[in-house]
């Protein structure tokens, strides 16, 4: 083993092919026991194809025919109506046998699904010629509420910071912020900050890694010239986030909770965005994620748990930001821990993010 202190243990290989196998199996179908994912299928598709993208296996593991028909399926989920346009999770409320493109009050676009659909289409290198860009701007308007937050679907009271982040990424990709009231949205983010230095999901809620990532990413995406955080606020958020990394190497989502693979992304990404990515111990992070690998492929939230596309994707995204230093012995086993860089703000491989920006932007 290498003499450097951070390489004082052996890092087993990352089972890249097995992980690709796991997400491909999920793409082809999920058992009925996971029927609760039906109303979030677009996100599942994103985590599966996103995993392949981060592993650099989209071209190898899928055929052009597959990709073409998947793009078709996603476009069938773009629907329009009096709330504007956007993507729904899937056809679980479809009314007719022909691909209906008009939405009803019970079959509407969904803001999180719109974000994941755009990224998935970018992974599949779609040219976005069918995207109703102006319609999406109206949809964002229909989702924003008085307090600056966004609902998941127009008119619903279901709202928290996740949806605000999605609205911001969508506006950023469209390069058009006319669909959102940025000032109000930033005020809503500020109202979710807690005494610990992190952000809760809604005002008054406990600081959580996922929503703190989202708050930081949204603030950095916002088209404002000055950072709304004071230097001491920023420092406090960094301190809080760093302390979420356990001696095991994994991150926990809240103070005194156990480590969970997904928070390696949420808190790692938060630190990266705040310019403090070098404070993450990437070697121990990788070793934690190595123990979360399921023997038949896929990455679980914790050692001994069952894998799923969500934790698989977010683990790979964390590794894309924090590839571990590798010893000479480990190198001879191949470069299983090597990744392309990730865009931490929109959560996509940099090349995919670039594609999304150039094809989705509304020409000026």
């Amino acid at each position: 083993m290498s003499g450097s202190p951070e390489n004082d243990f052996y890092l087993p290989p990352l089972a890249r092919v097995a992980h690709a196998g796991h997400v491909k199996r999920c793409l082809s179908g999920l058992p009925d026991s996971q029927v609760d994912l039906d109303s979030g299928r677009m996100a599942v598709a994103f985590y599966c194809l996103g995993s392949l993208d981060l592993l650099n296996m989209v071209q190898v593991k899928t055929s052009e025919t597959d990709r073409e028909s998947w793009r078709e399926w996603i476009w069938e989920q773009q629907i329009s109506g009096n709330y504007g346009s956007g993507f729904r999770p899937g056809p679980f409320m479809s009314r007719s046998t022909q691909g209906a493109t008009a939405h009803t009050d019970y079959d509407t676009p969904h803001i999180i699904m719109t974000y994941t659909a755009l990224l998935t289409l970018a992974i599949l290198r779609d040219d976005f010629s069918r995207l109703d860009k102006k319609g999406i701007l109206s949809f964002l308007k229909a989702c924003q509420r008085e307090d600056g937050s966004f609902s998941t679907i127009p008119g619903s009271g279901e709202t928290d910071l996740r949806t605000l982040y999605c609205a911001f990424v969508i506006s950023h990709l469209l390069d058009d912020w006319s669909g959102v009231n940025v000032e109000r949205a930033l005020a809503f983010i500020a109202s979710c900050r807690t005494y610990e230095g992190g952000y809760g999901q809604s005002p008054f809620c406990e600081a959580n890694g996922g929503t703190t990532y989202i708050a930081m990413a949204a603030i950095h995406l916002a088209p404002v010239t000055s950072n709304p955080l004071t230097p001491s606020e920023k420092q406090k958020t960094i301190d809080w986030a760093v302390h979420k990394q356990h001696p095991s190497g994994g991150f926990c989502g809240r103070t005194n909770k156990v480590a969970d693979a997904c928070y390696c992304f949420w808190l790692g990404g938060c630190l990266k965005i705040l310019g403090a990515g070098d404070l993450v111990d990437s070697r121990s992070l990788a070793s934690f994620l190595a123990t979360c690998q399921f023997k038949f492929g896929g990455i679980a939230k914790a050692p001994g748990e069952h894998p799923d596309p969500y934790h698989t994707y977010l683990s790979l995204a964390a590794l894309s930001m924090f590839p571990p230093p590798i010893s000479a012995t480990e190198k001879s086993n191949g470069s299983s821990w090597t990744f392309d860089p990730l865009d931490p703000l929109i959560n996509a491989r940099e090349e995919t993010a670039k594609w999304a920006r150039s094809y989705i932007a509304i020409p000026r």
């Binding site: 793409l27 994912l37 990394q245 070098d278």
Partner: protein, 330 residues
């Protein structure tokens, strides 16, 4: 499901035209629905198309929700139906008591409850119900979020009256429950001044004693230290005011000197694992704030954290040292 009775064979459903889910040949991540789920979803789509809102819609949506509690459209349609037929919402809430415990981690269960409460407007029994769910999971985010919403939205002094006792019970059961610590902060400092809490000096003193005693029992508890920091910052009290309290926690057990009972500065318990990294970090922050020569004392403490007491965050402590020295040189 061999004894499943399809809707077509159920009395009172023959007028509904079921609608199959439309899906093209290459769907992404399709769910392999059971026949039962397909049947009930087909009837649900059929009902939604006609816009019917009736008693039997409650039966149908309950069926769907029990199979798939994340089906947000079924919840939405159920709520609209309850309102349209002027249903007994208290009865609905009883049903929700059962479903909330079964599906504690499903957002929709709590969202629906919130909508019901906006109509029923009887939040006090809700606090008791939430307390019951904490026996299953005392850190459930949705449940806490619902409790915080109830309190802030109805903001009734009767509602707030028991909150501190409630938090104390939870912290007694698990002193590291950060959700409970957070809720304490929300209750005491972020929700206005409640009855009996008007004497803010007294409240502040009480909170400082409470958190210090908690630290003296279990020093290695980040939730308590974060609370202490939060209370000080919220009240613009410099950290240096805590130096007498904190110092013993930064020393090993054999260097503990005090046997005096000092309520303001309770010493570490005899079984404490010392020195405590969180105390060293706190003391270093005090020195850093003093600046000047004290900055060197701070860097010494950060060194000891990175090399010995908190090696998992070595990179972070090295960064604090770099930043500290940089400030010193400018």
């Amino acid at each position: 499901m061999t004894d499943y009775v399809r809707y077509v064979d159920r009395p009172g459903w023959d007028d509904v035209v079921p609608i199959e889910q439309y899906e093209n040949g290459s769907p992404l991540a399709p769910i392999f629905y059971t026949n039962e789920y397909k049947d009930v979803a087909n009837y649900f789509r059929g009902i939604v198309k006609t816009g019917e809102k009736s008693e039997r819609v409650l039966e149908l949506t309950e069926h769907i929700i029990r199979l798939n509690p994340a089906h947000y459209t079924a919840w939405q349609y159920r709520y609209e139906t309850l309102i349209a037929i002027d249903a007994d919402l208290e009865k609905e809430l009883k049903l929700m008591d059962e479903l909330a415990i079964t599906h504690l981690k499903t957002y929709q269960v709590w969202h629906h409850r919130r909508l019901l409460m906006l109509k029923i407007r009887k939040p006090i029994p809700e606090l008791r119900f939430i307390a019951k769910t904490f026996l299953v999971d005392a850190k459930n985010y949705h449940t806490w979020s619902y409790r915080q919403w109830l309190l802030a939205y109805f903001n009734d002094e009767d509602l707030w009256a028991g909150e501190l006792d409630f938090v104390e019970q939870l912290l007694y059961a698990d002193i590291r429950n950060n959700s409970a610590w957070h809720h304490r902060f929300f209750t005491v400092f972020q929700s206005g001044v409640h009855d009996g809490e008007q004497d803010r000096e007294r409240v502040l003193k009480r909170e400082l004693i409470y958190v210090k005693q908690s630290i003296s029992l279990v020093p290695n508890n980040a939730s308590a230290w974060n609370y202490l920091r939060g209370v000080l910052e919220q009240n613009s009290i410099p950290f240096s005011k805590m130096i007498t309290f904190v110092q013993p926690y930064t020393l090993p057990m054999e260097e503990q000197t005090t046997d005096l009972v000092d309520l303001d500065n309770p010493p570490p318990s005899k079984t404490a694992h010392l020195p405590c990294a969180l105390a060293i970090e706190f003391l270093a922050d005090v020195y850093e704030a003093e600046g000047g020569d004290s900055m060197l004392k701070a860097t010494e403490l950060w060194k000891s954290l990175g090399n010995e007491h908190d090696v998992a965050h070595k990179k972070y402590w090295e960064y604090r040292i770099r930043e500290g020295l940089r400030v010193l040189q400018t």
